[in-house]
Symmetry: D2
Subunit: 339 residues, 4 copies
């Protein structure tokens, strides 16, 4: 950490800063510049709360040198992590691109199994479907809950596909784990730290969606919560951020994919359905995601998007999904991957 | 709702739209413009999922006419709601400005009671203090938990001030209600719908902080969750939004205060501490908040901000708090309010 | 246009609105809903200033049905426009992807000609280079000005590549046109309407960069300025928008590419250099841009990025550029294009 | 400046960095931390391009210690600057709050003089009115141009009020200076560096509006352009930034006012009309601006806002303006200022 003193800082204030650094067992080096004095901290700066410096008399600002996350970082582990989706068959993060697809919400058993079969045929590695739906509007459909979980388990039996579903609160984790193979943390829960701990304590793979207003540092700190609570199977998911743009529901920020590859060993997938909120953009943005290096996709598809009870506008038909999967193949190969 | 057809929509597609409107018991009026056909929906448009139209063949877009929230709206109740903080003495939303103050986190009993006495003397109507702390960094201090709640209750005994504390998950609600007078929903939980329902079912006043990326419509829909679950005592709180600005941690958007006054009957307070993340800006932004019409403030203050375990940079000293309270008086009077 | 009346609008106010619509020769249809009265305007709503309604007594809001731009729209011209870069050889917007490359700033003749030869060999269709540099910092290098233009013209002579350079003000247009084949309007000038008119009156192709805070509607209105002043050769360029993200200088919003393809016939290229501000992200984001359907790229490359006088951090070496061009080929083919 | 080396940086790379620092005559101090090597630069770091380090082999990032602007900074001049609006009578930046008011666009002579008289009576210190209007839509009214400037001059003769008008391009500066007392640079031109230089060379006071996507550092660098070209009379103006918020046209960021007071000696005013785009919010946001410490306001007012040719929705009537001026008085006094 670099602690920059104010131009009018007194000698006593500088001494006080040096003393505080040394008190926690770190080394302080005082640099006397022409316009500012600066105290450089040598040692593991994570020992001191970074915030503290901003209220220490005479300090202008403190500049951290190290990222605040450790287990998620490339410095701890410099090879990509491939997260197994079920007993060792499919993974997210290996050479093969993993596409997870299914309806936004589980609506009924027959529909779900029929969709599951189709997405498997088209090449998906897992089935997604929401049993608990976090809806902005209290008057909207909130999901089938445990009944939905049961249908997901039956769809797995019928197809062999592992199933992904969202978990909304810490106390749901045990129940959802009974049925699902992979847990999903939604964008509105990325910073629900009790939930992060709870899924950390369970060992099932977790798809962690980026908060719609989260920086990459906050995103990786959320992953760190899960990792530090014992679960190494974290799959990051970019799903769009909130910006001033109004031609899409969110701005799908594809540059996070190659940037995360530099910062972390965790795999990263992209959700072009929520990330755009617009059906016609799912196909091109899926291609873009694979081209920039994503390890997989999370796509909403439905046999009849017009009748879909939730998020119809961003849901593609099963035919469109099948066509997309074919069109993705040459893109994946162009970047040295497989479908 | 206004449903705008695509320029190339067929007669059958237009008919299909009209039929869908009539199926739910609403009236459809077809308007044939020079460049577009438009279907106007007459009746309570909230009966139809707005999203559905965007996937109906031939439809370009659907434009809602009515706000999706009802109980929170000025149309339902056109007089301001004053929320009682305890048995009828203090309220937020009446003529008197209500200032809630205290440390970010409860650290120990002695410190808390001493701060409580000081903020009461200075004119605060309630004491704030975090027992459960949602921290971005898993390596940071996470709060004293139930022990913190006990200290809050003791601080109330010692001063008579009602106490406010944050609740992080649905299953905490019962426990926190045992100790606290007012519950707080943090910005990262504004869209935690299970939590909103849980605090809706409890009857204690709720301070609902705006999500850092939430529009006013989403903010009022979150309030609607609490209202529809039986709790009318909702206090809205603006605490800063995420933008490109980097001179403050968040952008405190004061225009939401007068705009919310036009849209809702619920009271609205402002948190200048989190909203700026900078101690030197708390005083001016508090004044700005009162000047634009806020019903109250939520302020972090501590006997020794440099030693504050959480959020030191935005915490003002008790002396600064006392001075601020005095300086707010003429501003409040200038806008027809009282301190 | 749809004019929504306030719930408390009087009969007189409604009549006044109807009268105002009819005064400009349009037809007004009054719809009496259960909660609101709405006046639908039939005819070319662009005849009335949309803003006016928001100050008309009794009006809650006015909702436009038509986009405010015409000449740029797909409705006027439903086939993609291919803009010729010079006398008919290369175009942007046809089947072939057009890559424009070169240094951020022209630094000296020898360097420029050497870079020009290399980018031509690698397959670029035009050479870029800044002679006038708009710099945020007044103490930074501001470009070689006319001398830089001369070197660009010499580089064209030496290689046959058409040259692109930025024009900063209306009075520069004539001079820059003397030397350059294609004019560039930078992000900070997208809404410099006098400049848009000036390049509209010249007939050379114009690369119009999106303003870093411009919506797609504002972007297309800026293009409309150029088109309405007589210049049909507009190439749109996405170059990143300003958001809260801090892992890149800007957020490169690739979803605008397929969305613009739906809204306009104009070609659209992407600038991954400015759009990320980070050299390591130029390769993957270029691939992403082609995969989502961009018609071309604008890339900064330099024989020695470390010595580049401007924007070094986002400049790739000539070797990296050559490799990128090869790697783009299979991506382009995967989406039905050619390099 | 602090140059942080990558964990895998070689000894040669570190040496190379030290050499580059020393080559420009600065001192380099090498700090060997436990996880990173860091090179601290002692001396005036503005001598080296900050960007260069990001492309130097082995460097992870460079962290500037000093702000890049000098003449605008508090370090250069620690007392507030009061900018004289005309020959010494009124200033912006002194104890007295300066309110500048008038129509968005000059429409005709009679209207302008009548408004000028009213705003003067109400206490305004200057008259605003646009002669050249930068309009997003090419089909909108573009202003009366020189005719408008003449009317402004006549309004000054009739009332004694100095007049403010916007200048759109460098070549307009001489003409506009002939008529106007104060020049305005609009938000879309904040980074039009040729224009900044041109108004720098003229000596008339300049109201510099913040770019809608500009950070405070970029804003102050724009002011620095004007200052370094010889004009010390710069008045900063916050006019709203672009964010995801949709309840106002822009987000008026009032915290910049007290923050700018810490960073610069230049006066700062607020434009609540453009900053909100909503007439009903002009009154409360004006009060908020004064309460947070603004030196003045820039307000659109018109005798008949409904008939205003430009920006009607945000224009208040002359009666509302008069009332606002009265209501601002106690707020100004509460913060130690005068109206």
């Amino acid at each position: 950490m670099i602690i920059v003193m104010r131009p009018d800082a007194t000698k006593e204030e500088v001494k006080h800063v040096v003393k505080k650094v040394e008190e926690v067992g770190l080394k302080a080096v005082l640099l006397e510049g022409t316009e500012r004095k600066v105290v450089a901290v040598i040692g593991d700066e994570r020992k001191i709360s970074y915030d503290m410096w901003n209220v220490t008399p005479g300090v202008e600002k403190a500049v951290p040198i190290l990222a605040p996350y450790k287990m998620a970082s490339r410095e701890l582990k410099n090879t990509p992590t491939a997260v197994p989706l079920d007993k060792g068959r499919a993974t997210i993060g290996g050479k093969k691109i993993g596409v997870i697809a299914g309806p936004c919400a589980v609506e009924n058993k027959k529909q779900l199994i029929s969709i599951a079969k189709k997405v498997k045929e088209a090449g998906a590695v897992a089935l997604r479907g929401g049993a608990y739906k976090p809806r902005t509007n209290p008057y909207s459909f909130q999901g089938l809950r445990e009944e939905g979980l049961e249908y997901l388990a039956e769809a797995r039996e019928a197809t062999g596909l592992p199933v992904v579903t969202e978990v909304l609160s810490p106390e749901q984790v045990v129940l959802v784990c009974k049925y699902a193979d992979i847990l999903q943390i939604g964008t509105r829960n990325m910073a629900n730290f009790l939930l992060l701990k709870a899924v950390g304590e369970c060992k099932k793979p977790v798809i962690l969606k980026r908060g719609m207003a989260a920086t990459l540092e906050e995103f990786l700190l959320a992953a760190e919560y899960i990792l530090t609570h014992g679960n190494p199977n974290v799959i990051l998911c970019e799903r769009g951020i909130r910006t001033f743009e109004d031609h899409t529901r969110f701005t799908l920020s594809l540059s996070v994919v190659p940037r995360l590859k530099e910062l972390t060993h965790l795999p990263i997938i992209v959700d072009p359905s929520h990330g755009t909120g617009k059906r016609s953009l799912v196909n091109p943005m899926s291609k873009g995601a694979i081209a920039v290096g994503a390890d997989g996709l999370l796509i909403e598809t439905h046999s009849n998007p017009e009748k879909s009870m939730v998020d119809g506008p961003q849901t593609i038909s099963l035919e469109e999904f099948e066509r997309l999967m074919k069109e993705l193949k040459p893109i994946a190969e162009a970047v040295g991957r497989e479908m």
